[in-house]
Structure formats: C-alpha cells, structure tokens
Amino acid sequence: MHDFFYYIQLLLAGITVGSLYALIAIGYTMVYGILRLINFAHGDIFMAAGFFMIFISATTSIYVSLPIVLILTVILGVAVERVAYRPLREAPRMSVMISAIGVSYLLQNFATYYTGGLARPYPVIPFLTREVTIGSMTVKALTIITPVLTVILVVALVLLINRTKIGMAMRAVAKDQNTARLMGIKINNVISVTFVIGSFLAAVGSILYFSNYEQVTPTAGAMPGLKAFVAAVFGGIGSIPGAVLGAYVIGIVETFIKANNDYAIFSNAFTFALLIIILVFRPHGLFGEKLTEKV
C-alpha cells in the first residue's frame, strides 16, 4: 500500500529526530561518564536555549543572536554545575541526582512563570528552514544539515577526547577521580569543560530541534531529554559513538512506530521498553565498559 518514497520520507524524518537526540545524548553521556550523574536538568537547559533564541532574536538579527544563544546556554550549563552539583561532589549519588531533578523542576517552573506557560513561536532561521529539492521530493534544509552537522560535531568531539590534553584529562577523571587528582589534574576545570561542551551541543541541538518544530514550551525539554538519556544508556553510557548510535536507533524506530496509526501512542513507551531490555541483557549498554567494585 505504501510506496517506496513514503519509507524514504519516514527514514529521513527518523534520521533528523535521531540526530537531534544524538546531540543531546552526548551531553548526557559525557557528564555521566565523568560525574556518574544523570543530569536530569540537561533537557531543560536545551529548553532554555530555545527561549534564549526567542527572546534575543526579538531584539536583534538571527545571525547575531545565534552565537549569543550558544554562549548563554554554555554559561547556564556551567552555572548549574557550579551551584547545584559542585557543592555535592562528596555527597551520596542519590542526593546529587535529586539536586539535578530539583534544578530541572526549577528551570521548568521558571520558564512557565516567565512565559506564562504559552507556546512561543521559534524564530525562522532562513538557511535552516528553506526548502531544498532532492530528486522527486522537497525537504527542509535542516533535514540534510542536521545529520551532517551531528556527524561533524561528533567526530570533532571524539578527536578532542582522544587527541588533546584536556581530552586525556577527561578520560583520566572518568576512570578514577582521586588518582586523576593525584596526577595533578584540576578535576573541577575538567568537569566545567565537560559541561561547556555538553551545553554547547545542547544549544546547537535546540536550535536545530526548535527550527524543526517551530515553537517552544517550558516542558519541551523533558521528553527529548529523557529519550536522549535512554539513547546514551543504550549505547553504553560514557561512550560517545554508542550514544549517537542509540540516538539514531531510537529516532528511526520511534518514527516508524508513530507512522503506524494503531500504535502511535506507544512511541515513548517503546523507547523505555527498549531501555529496560537493553539494561537487562547488557547492563552496561552496547559499548559501555563494566566497572567492578573492589572488595
């Protein structure tokens, strides 16, 4: 009944969604890899980036506001780490996680308060939203740009982590904080850098994401955030290629589920079912390395 073109269309949609999840998921996986903390607020930082764009672009041109948004988001991300996570560095993991939930709660409520809870239209970014025609079909430019950009960013990131000094520091901290500290690595700086990168990617993600859906609500970050986290777990938390792979799997499969009218409402449920299954059969995800507790 469906033609080939239809599936191509779905696939494209899935890849776009997947790429967006990927950009968020990397933030999760990096923070988790280093702090062993599920940064529940990550999705809300992503949401905040959306509102930054709206408010800034209202006063100035898109091209000026793009960099500003990136910077603001990074600042927000780092600020959150400073205020909400750093003081709890020595605290049990549960309370750090709770703090993360608290931050997400705060960001959402503040956004609701500030915007009155209404959906705000996202400014049109011409070079992302203009239509391009490939062969027989026309799609938004960002359908093409998103995956490409994602891949570029991921490669850059992997290089950063494997080739540079700071990358080495990150890996060291991820392996063993105390030893890393003894080796003279400034843990806090490394962690800040992690949050800088994470938030930056979240900001990029949010620009692409909201250009696609064209409106922002205070809760817009919650679901993408959770799904991105699932993606990160799926791929093996701490492993960037894993996170990206997971993101694409989730993005594509959930798109196909949504395309099935009878089961459309199970797209989220599926994501989590996948998570549980993965955790049961590979508790450390596809590429995650096992950490055993010393007895």
């Binding site: 239809y6 269309q9 949609a13 899935g14 009155g116 859906y213 064209e214 409106q215 949504k258 009218n261």
Partner: protein
C-alpha cells in the same frame, strides 16, 4: 552561611503561614483593582479557571471575559440591599489532581456561585465537590457531556461535544469530503470525546474514518502526517490543545497534506495563527461566538471588551497579545451575566436557592440563548459558528452558522 539560610527559610515559612492563611482571602480581589473598602455587603463569585498548565491560555481568555463583565456590573441588589460582587479566582492548573483542592478553596471561601472551567476534565473532576457543597457552578466553555450529567449543581451555557462533533461532521460532509482522519490527544477528554462524536456522525453520514491518537506533549507529527498522506484522506479533524494545534497544522502541510484541517472550539485562539503562520490555510473550526455578529448585544460587548483590553497591558498579554475577541471570553461574559441574573432572580446569596433559580432561568446573552437549561443543566444552543483562518489579516473569519440536521 547555613545559619542565615536557616533564618531566611524560617522567616519565609512564617511569612507564608501568616500571609497564606490570610492569603486565600487576599487573593480574592486579585487583579480586580484594590478592594474597594465600601461598607456595602459582599457576595462572592468563584472563578474556577486554569491560569497555567496546558489550558492556561484559554483559561486566561475566559477569565478576561468574566473580569470584564464584572467591571461592567460590579454590583447586585438583593432584597433592596446592594451587594458588591467579589471575584475569587483560583488556578486549577488544568490538572485534575489539583482541581480538587482548587475547588475546595473556592468552597472554603464561601462563594455563592462558581464559573468555569475551560477544559472539561477539571470541571468533571471538581463537579462533585461543588455539588456536595451545594454551590451551583456554571460552565462557560466546557463541552464534555459528563460535566453536567448527573450533577444537579452544574450548568452549562455552551453547546456540547456531541453537538459540535456532529456539526463539524455535517460541515465536512457537505464540503464533499468522504475520508476523514481523526487525530486526538491521548489523555485529553475534550480531544478524545469530540473526536469520538465527529467520527460517529461522519460515519453515520456515510464517510469513512481513520483514528489516530498521539500522546500528550507530542511535538513530532511528521511520521503520522506522512502515513495520513499515504492513506489519502480528504480531511483531518484534529481537536486538540492550543499548544499542539500549530505543530499539527505546520507538520501536516510540510508532509504534503493539503486537505482541509478541522477542529473544535479550542482552536479559536490567535496564538495558533501566529505560531502556525501561512501553513494555516484551509483550516476550519466551530466556534461559540462571532465578534462580527450584528446583534446589538454582541456589538456592544465586542466594542466594550476591546476597549477594556487595550486599557491594560497585562490584559492584552493574557489575551495572547492581540485585541481579538475570543469566543471563550464572550462565554465568560455571558456566564457571569447568567450568574448575576440567577442571583437577582433568587434574591439570595444561598447556593441552593440560586441553583433553583437557575433551573428555570431565561437569559439570552451575546452568544445567543444562554439559559433555559434542559434536565441535565445544558443551555439550549442549537447553532455553532463555523470559522476559518484568514491569512491576510491573521484573524478568524466567520464562514457560516451550522446546525445539526
């Protein structure tokens, strides 16, 4: 450091306690200018509307109508004594789990009548509480049958989903459309209910229906739309919240779904036009009210209301930044007026008496026949306004009135 925070917290809690207990009462004259310290007696009318949550936008617009009505008629005479009407507003957060305590707050405030709510779910959830407290409630725009059904204290001045659904079905069928997709939001009584009745009526007429549900908070409809395109439907009926409306419209058009898109009363909100932009062509919806109505009452209301909106910026923002008159505002206005008429008829501030007065009250307001309730307590509204979106002016354009049959 810690000690100071402790201090701050303690003070905060204390303040909260003190102001809080008085808070409820101080919140009563909220936003209705400083409480006029007139010595005359006071009768309280509760406003049970969402100011936040997914129905916040509509709730605010409905509240605006009520506030305007209040500014027009702030007083009522009972038994020769002049009573000042005090509006008691609570935010039910468009959340059934919060609705209960919000309603309870109104009850404990000792209101005589309750108006609202936008969004049927909360009204259904809170209905019993009002009934138990013997306080009559007048629903302005809640269209789900269950609101008034089996609740002697709940009345309603707007039409119902079965009616609305049938109307839209007829309208679509008359346009020569035969294959409809009904897209509803899981967990939203309004959406699911209206969709259900539309499908029922449309199939009775001989059309075919594809049912699709999306989960609340969904932002990505591209896949759904793609599948609908390949289904080759003639019309998409998508009753849903103001939030998801623009997403649906835009992504439908992006996916190449060019057929008419239809919905119910909720879509009459200009933020949808703003957010959906020029994708919003061929969009039809049923509405409670037409601002360009030629009847004197309507004219007067529209002019007065627009003036009143312009007078204050917060009012404008609450109206989604525009001066357009939403149907729910008109209904809010009427609901208030009905309540007033009932109070005058009852010549009492007692809920039960007012309720009895409501039962056989006749009142015709700006949205047409608003009282003369049937045994369920629903107004005899036999006509809906079909509107479409006018992209040039970015407003809703009245198309025709449609009745069942």
């Amino acid at each position: 450091m810690k000690r100071y925070i402790a201090l701050f917290l303690a003070c905060f809690m204390l303040v909260a306690l003190v102001t809080g207990c008085s808070g409820s009462s101080s919140s009563s004259n909220s936003s209705v200018a400083p409480s006029s310290s007139s010595s005359s007696k006071v009768i309280k009318i509760g406003i049970f509307e969402p100011a936040s949550g997914m129905n916040g936008a509509g709730g605010k617009q409905e509240t605006l109508g009520i506030r305007y009505a209040h500014s027009v008629k702030p007083k009522v005479t009972i038994g020769g004594v002049e009573y000042t009407i005090e509006l008691v507003e609570v935010d039910n957060q468009s959340d059934n789990s919060k609705a209960g305590s919000a309603a309870q707050q109104l009850v404990s405030e000792g209101v005589s009548v309750v108006l609202g709510s936008y969004g049927s779910g909360v009204s259904i959830a809170a209905g019993q509480i009002f009934a138990d407290a013997k306080i009559p409630a007048i629903g302005a725009s809640c269209t789900n049958p269950q609101v008034t059904e089996g609740n002697p204290y709940y009345f309603r001045i707007c039409f119902l989903d079965p009616f609305q659904g049938t109307v839209m079905a007829n309208f679509a069928y008359d346009m020569g459309l035969r294959k409809a997709a009904v897209l509803t939001e899981a967990g939203d009584d309004y959406s699911v209910g209206l969709g259900h009745y539309f499908a029922q009526a449309f199939e009775k007429l001989g059309g075919s229906v594809v049912n699709v549900q999306f989960q609340s908070g969904e932002t990505d409809f591209s896949a759904t739309m793609a599948s609908l395109v390949s289904e080759g439907i003639d019309v998409l009926f998508a009753p849903s919240s103001i939030e998801s409306a623009p997403l649906i419209i835009k992504q439908a058009r992006n996916a190449g779904l060019t057929c008419p898109i239809m919905a119910g009363d909720t879509w009459e909100n200009e933020t949808i036009i703003t957010n959906a932009g020029d994708a919003a062509y061929d969009v039809y919806l049923s509405a409670f009210f037409d601002p360009n109505d030629t009847s004197a009452a309507a004219k007067e209301f529209v002019e007065g209301f627009t003036e009143w909106l312009k007078a204050d910026n917060t009012r404008l923002t609450n109206n989604g930044g525009s001066t357009g008159v939403a149907g729910v505002s008109a209904l809010g206005y009427d609901a208030y007026m009905v309540a007033l008429a009932a109070i005058e008829a009852a010549q009492s501030t007692d809920g039960t008496v007012i309720r009895d007065a409501l039962v056989n009250l006749k009142y015709s307001g700006v949205t047409g026949e608003c009282a003369s309730f049937d045994e369920n307590g629903d107004a005899a509204k036999d006509m809906a306004y079909i509107k479409t979106i006018d992209l040039e002016t970015g407003t809703f354009k009245f198309l025709q009135t449609q009745t069942v049959s």
